[in-house]
């Protein structure tokens, strides 16, 4: 019997090379030291992979993990994480998805699944409580994600089975292939779909009839009830409902364009004049069919879109979310919202990250504009900005790895190396990951977010919405009245390292428990003290009742993911921004004339993290302070200590 509640106390290890499936006991120390989710994954992948592990080789580990609060009615917490060494970046890779899959895995009796090895033929894993089997998937290979989910449900004779699967992009090892869940939810970034494809693993289907128990049901329900009311009623309830509820994430299109931070024309500028045409109002009015929700979420930001007539007739798909609208819309200088919805659907069916697809396309378009990529190089596709044919054709070609698509499917960093001729100037990425939907010139803190994020230029590990969306009271409560003015100023770098380090730590807990970024990043409802109230009655781990302990565990997780990247060769030289953000003043919009001043924020951040400012490496005493002595010993043997 596992000592702590919330957890199931059992995990699965599936060796695809030998077809062996083992049920193993969850070590208590793992729960105590790393909480769950990303924390579990960081520790396991650190231990079981090493610098020689090829992301697309059998030895890579691929973990599907839940957290202690998964399935236990905290809102919003219907999520799970997929982690592996990333084929896109070669460093730490993790990607999260909502939906109903994560809770189902808990009800089936498991905290996580570790996949290792490679199957000699396509298979999928079926988990039904005690019964776990690898099933033939030859007939599913080549099928898109929607077909795959439907066929699996049909052959299992159960339309409630939750399915996480890859499409043709994952099979073709597109380096930013995603994993689709329950049709419209996706673990998008970092290429987890390609890791599945490389293992010949088409899908993971789960069904469970078990329970998630909590340590102190009465107290737990009081805390959860408070949280539920906090997020669904009053000021926060209104903040959630008027934005995420009414419009979903597309609400951000208008909000971020207003501050000049909507990536446009491959990040050339942060202001899109036609933003309204791809904005929240038109989507809600003309295309939104129905509102959807992840498991036990009170915010309910998801929706389905339909196009009834015209060239994209019969399009029916989840979303599009803000990042997809940005990547496939403004970023490609495309103001046709129907094309955005359609391209978003294609990405979902093929199983590809919409952000990286959009950025790969805009990279090709800009290379063409600059005379680096000719029409002939691009298989006779007219690479004009906003050209619908270019966006659609390149999406197909990337997924199928055809012609120019085969180059773009490598991600913009590798693609630029292949193309040469200075193409890297237009490959907007950090550590190999295409930048997401922000612009550091218009919001200085984003520069630091991109530079230090453990998975590359991405918003979900350390983006602050506090100054972006003007949560003044929250800034005051968390950082003190004296800092409000500077933090609120989007274009100031002062105190931004403090804010970014703080949210990065907060999200490490959020991503371990597993809670959604809505309600934590935007709007910033829950903070360390809320989780300190939640975790003890949930798990019985009393020490988590102290927010200082939570912060220490958060730092442990952040340092371990950093150590993983250091082991892969990352250092200060890699904590950089694309030159576009540093050297090219913003050409238009509210942030016109600004560049990102990364250096002072980065130095302050290293200080706050107690990392070495010269090298970006982690000193022994910093690691030991957060309980990572063994990690520092290993790094020392590799000469990776400062």
């Amino acid at each position: 019997m596992f000592s702590y509640k919330g957890y199931k106390g059992t995990y699965l290890r599936v060796d695809l090379s030998t077809n062996q499936i083992q049920k193993e006991a969850l070590p208590e120390s793992l729960a105590r030291d790393y909480l769950g989710g990303t924390g579990f994954c960081a520790k396991i992948i650190w231990d079981e992979a090493d610098v020689k592990t090829g992301p697309l080789k059998p030895e890579n580990r691929l973990i599907f993990a839940t957290g202690p609060v998964t399935g236990a009615f905290f809102t919003p917490a219907g999520r799970f994480v997929i982690a592996a060494k990333s084929p896109l970046t070669g460093i730490w890779g993790e990607s999260h998805s909502g939906g109903h899959w994560g809770p189902e895995l808990k009800y089936a009796g498991y905290d996580f699944i570790i996949f290792q090895g490679k199957s000699n033929k396509p298979v999928y894993l079926y988990v039904e409580d005690e019964h776990v089997e690898l099933r033939e998937a030859g007939h599913l290979w080549g099928k898109n994600t929607k077909e795959t989910i439907k066929i699996i449900r049909e052959e299992l004779g159960d339309d409630t089975v939750k399915v996480a699967c890859i499409g043709p992009a994952g099979e073709n090892l597109v380096r930013f292939a995603s994993v689709l869940v329950d049709f419209y939810r996706a673990a998008g970034r970092a290429g987890m779909g390609a890791v599945m494809g490389a293992k010949n693993l088409k899908a993971v289907a789960v069904r469970g009839t078990g329970s998630v128990e909590v340590a102190d049901p009465e107290t737990y329900m009081e805390v959860v009830d408070d949280a539920f009311h906090k997020i669904t009623t009053g000021e926060w309830g209104e903040a959630c409902e008027s934005s995420l509820g009414m419009y979903g994430t597309p609400n951000l299109v208008t909000a971020v364009n207003a501050i000049g931070r909507l990536p446009t024309k491959n990040h050339w500028t942060g202001f899109f004049e036609a933003a309204e045409k791809i904005g929240p109002d038109i989507l809600r009015k003309n295309y939104r069919v129905t509102r959807e929700s992840c498991f036990t979420c009170g915010i309910q930001c998801k929706y389905i879109s339909r196009i009834e007539k015209g060239p994209y007739k019969n399009t029916w798909t989840g979303g599009p979310e803000f990042e997809s609208i940005m990547a496939l819309g403004s970023n490609c200088l495309n103001d046709d919202v129907e094309l955005v919805i359609y391209a978003n659907m294609l990405c979902n069916l093929y199983g590809m990250d919409t952000i990286s697809v959009g950025k790969a396309i805009s990279f090709a378009l800009e290379c063409h504009e600059k005379g680096i990529l000719s029409r002939k190089d691009a298989d006779d596709v007219d690479l004009a900005w906003g050209n619908a044919d270019a966006i659609i054709t390149l999406t197909h070609k990337i997924a199928k790895r055809e012609g120019i698509g085969n180059v773009l499917a490598e991600g913009v960093k590798r693609a630029a190396e292949i193309i040469g001729k200075g193409a890297e100037r237009y490959a907007v990425q950090v550590k190999g990951m295409e930048a997401s939907g922000q612009d550091p010139r218009a919001q200085q803190s984003v520069g630091l977010t991109y530079a230090i994020s453990c998975r590359g230029a991405d918003h979900l590990r350390a983006l602050s919405s506090l100054e972006e969306l003007g949560f003044v009271e929250t800034i005051e409560k968390r950082f003190g009245k004296d800092k409000v003015k500077e933090i609120q100023n989007l274009l100031s770098t002062t105190h931004k390292a403090l804010v970014i380090k703080d949210v990065e730590d907060l999200y490490a807990i959020v991503d371990s428990l597993l809670v959604c970024k809505y309600g934590t990043m935007w709007p910033p409802v829950y903070y360390f003290d809320d989780f300190a109230r939640l975790i003890p009655p949930l798990t019985g781990m009393k020490e988590y009742g102290d927010p200082r302990h939570l912060r220490m565990v958060a730092e442990r997780i952040c340092n371990l993911r950093r150590a993983f990247n250091i082991r892969e060769g990352m250092a200060k030289k890699d904590d950089v921004l694309h030159p576009r953000f540093i050297e090219e003043p913003m050409p238009s919009g509210p942030a016109k004339g600004y560049v990102c001043n990364l250096e002072p924020m980065l130095n302050e951040y290293y200080d706050l993290r107690e990392w070495d400012k010269e090298t970006g490496l982690i000193p022994r005493k910093t690691l030991e302070k957060v309980g990572l002595k063994d990690i520092s010993d290993q790094l020392e043997r590799m000469k990776k200590l400062p």
């Binding site: 128990e213 539920f228 009170g298």
Partner: protein
């Protein structure tokens, strides 16, 4: 006379979050397990259709008629049809008799379970964020459904069909 209250479902408001399932099973078992809930949201995720299904506490309860041991009876306070656990033999006849799938089998105890209106404070209605499940007095039930239709008609007239 006390006017009885009923659980009223409006599927068009349901987003499929299944909060109703979790608060239901927690109320009855102190554990989180949707398979032990008395309410279930039937979902077509591809189409985006979500329909919560729960016992309607019928006036002519077929479950009661089908019960061979007389285990089902109406609670005087709430009007809910309850199952006397002492008398229930777990024969599932009530499950087969019910046209709505009201009663079901608890996969843990293997006994028959059904909605008991939580003794008059149904948790599903209390927590539903969209009010897709409401607990309303008898006289409000008909009017509420009429209002839903009337709103749709007025929208159709003023703006064309809106979802």
């Amino acid at each position: 006379m006390l006017v009885r209250k009923f659980l009223v479902i409006e599927p068009e408001k349901c987003t499929g979050c299944r909060i109703c399932e979790l608060v239901c099973c927690f109320h009855h078992t102190k554990e989180f397990n949707p398979k032990r809930a008395r309410i279930a949201v039937l979902r077509d995720e591809e189409a985006g259709i979500n329909i919560p299904m729960v016992c309607q506490q019928c006036e002519i309860p077929l479950c009661e008629e089908a019960c061979p041991t007389g285990a089902t009876y109406r609670d005087e306070k709430t009007g809910a049809i309850l199952i006397d656990e002492e008398k229930c033999i777990g024969c599932r006849m009530c499950i087969y008799a019910c046209p709505f799938g009201g009663p079901s089998i608890d996969p843990f105890t293997m006994m028959t379970i059904k909605c008991d209106l939580c003794g008059g404070n149904p948790q599903c209605a209390k927590y539903c964020p969209r009010k897709a499940v409401e607990y309303l007095k008898a006289d409000r039930v008909g009017i509420m459904r009429k209002k839903v239709s009337a709103e749709k008609i007025s929208k159709m007239i003023t703006q064309g069909v809106v979802y």
